[in-house]
Amino acid sequence: MKLARIAFRNIRRNRRRSLLSGTAIMIATLFITFAFSLIAGMLGDIESNIVRYVSGHVRIRHVEYDENEQLNPLHLSVSEYEEVVRQMESEEEVAAAVPRTRFFTAIYRNGRTYAGMGLGVDFPREASVMRIQDAIEEGRLPQMGQREMVLSAGLAEELDLEVGERLTLLTKNKYLGMSGMTFTVTGIVRFLVAGFNESFFLVPIDTTARFLKMSDEATEVLVVLNDSKRVDEFAEKATGILAAMGRKNLSAQPWTRIGASVGWMQLARSAYDVIALVFFILASTVIVNTTMMVIFERMREIGTVAAMGMTPREIVRLFFLEALYIGAIAAFVGVLLGIGITIPLSKVGIDLTQPMQGVDLEINPVVYPRLNIRSTVFVFFYSTIIASLASFIPSRRAAKIEPVEALRSV
């Protein structure tokens, strides 16, 4: 007897049962796929924020800058940054390269001084990296070379400033002397990233250089890659390029080795892994449960078939095949549906405007679920296997019972 054919016939015969079991497996699989995609999306968000706002994929700095970072050492800079940026841009793996200069200043307004953190940026180049144009709440971006700036909303509030007004910055320049410069506020920005320093402002990097007496220098150059997985590889390549350019005092670090944000990323990932585990266990339970029930309900059938001469081994294998087929089909459909739901949502995003418990950060996080191997192929195989394996326990138990017993149990 071809067990496979019998298995198929059984499935078709007990339509209701197969449907119930299959549906359960399908829904469980569907949800796991979706949940994993959601999680991947959230993690991707965190990573994307680190890359865009903090360090890029690879960060180029003066070798001694990091250890002295607290003192904001402007003389430990990337000199002739334009050259470095252009060189990086010309590499095929690179999506964008931007220079940035961080500096601390005192903001002088109405007779008082306030602390502020400034970032000198190349606004045109940042269109694809920091995407400041998307964060503008009021006004416009500064023009390069001009004494113009955009402020964070928090700072604007603290200083009671509006677009069009001016304020003066005081800072320690590269030569340990003081510098003062008046800027016109051309716009107010709000970045939807939690943890972003509330008191910051953005200034054109060439104006910054003039202000800080740094000629053609930046404190760092960030590189964003096309393929986020080749980070370590490119960091090495970049180091080589820099050496070839004669820039021995510069180093290129992959973002995975920089600072605390990586730590939180890891923490987030671990947390989500645990959540994923919960889903797994639950979905598995559903699948196992269903499969087991199906078999236990068919005790009489098992008895009949055993009485007719089928060996326990064949019985087990029969049910295994049944579970396998139902599982495979259901899992396949489930994954397909999961993909079907995820793809449009990945474009549109899920707008979670539900304010977070307690703290009102005025953030509307939009999550873009994303598909990956884990959420699709892996889930498919896992569901199928679990369904098939789940058949063993009940079928083995059932097969061992005396046919008479089985026939009697209803």
Binding site: A106, T168, K172, Y175, L176, G177, M178, S179, G180, M181
Partner: protein, 245 residues
Amino acid sequence: MNRILPLIFTFGLLAALSVSAITAEEIVKNVERNEINEAERIDGSMIISDRFGSRTKTFISYASGSDKMLLEFTNPEERGQKILRLEDEIYLYFPEAEEVIHLQGSALKESVMGSDFSYEDMTGEGDLLDQYEVTLLGEESIEGRKHYHLELKARKRGLAYPKQEAWIDAETWVMTRANAYSLSGRLLKEMELGDIRVVAGKYVPHYIIMRDAMKKKSSTEMRIEAIDLVAKLPPDIFSLEELTW
């Protein structure tokens, strides 16, 4: 030049001098006579050093009496920047700033140009004999010259340096050395003056170095390249209008 230094160090602290027959007031007058000028113009340089290295700045300063001073930087990086002191007020001018910065309150505690001097150090806060109780600890010889070693203890609260020590050259009435201490008695700053030359009948130290005693490589040095004690100063030079010119 001394106008820029913590004036607290340099004034008539000698009231309690018991060694010589000369009275405290007369000593104070001697020191002040040597120190304060009707008009003064200095061409000088300042060298600021920290663990990363040294930076030199050059300047021209004008002073009148003990409460008016205008300083303008002439080195390339800070050229055009000015500091104006009118009694207890400090004003800063920067060529690329469209307003004059008026420093008050806690801003005065900031250091001038990242040096070891703060703006506070630059503003005299009233009569020193009022603020400090002075004791003569004795006589010491520094580089072969007789010096009076004085100890100053703050009479009231709120003075930046609760305790100081000074060594005054007995002949020239120039303070050669000074130390400033924290409330608990720890040495914070050390200052030395040297290269004393006679200019228009007065003894003028042409070199000063101030060190942060707690940070190994942090110091500020000042040199007088040229000094004119009888300069004819332009009228209204110590004014806000002049500052922005």
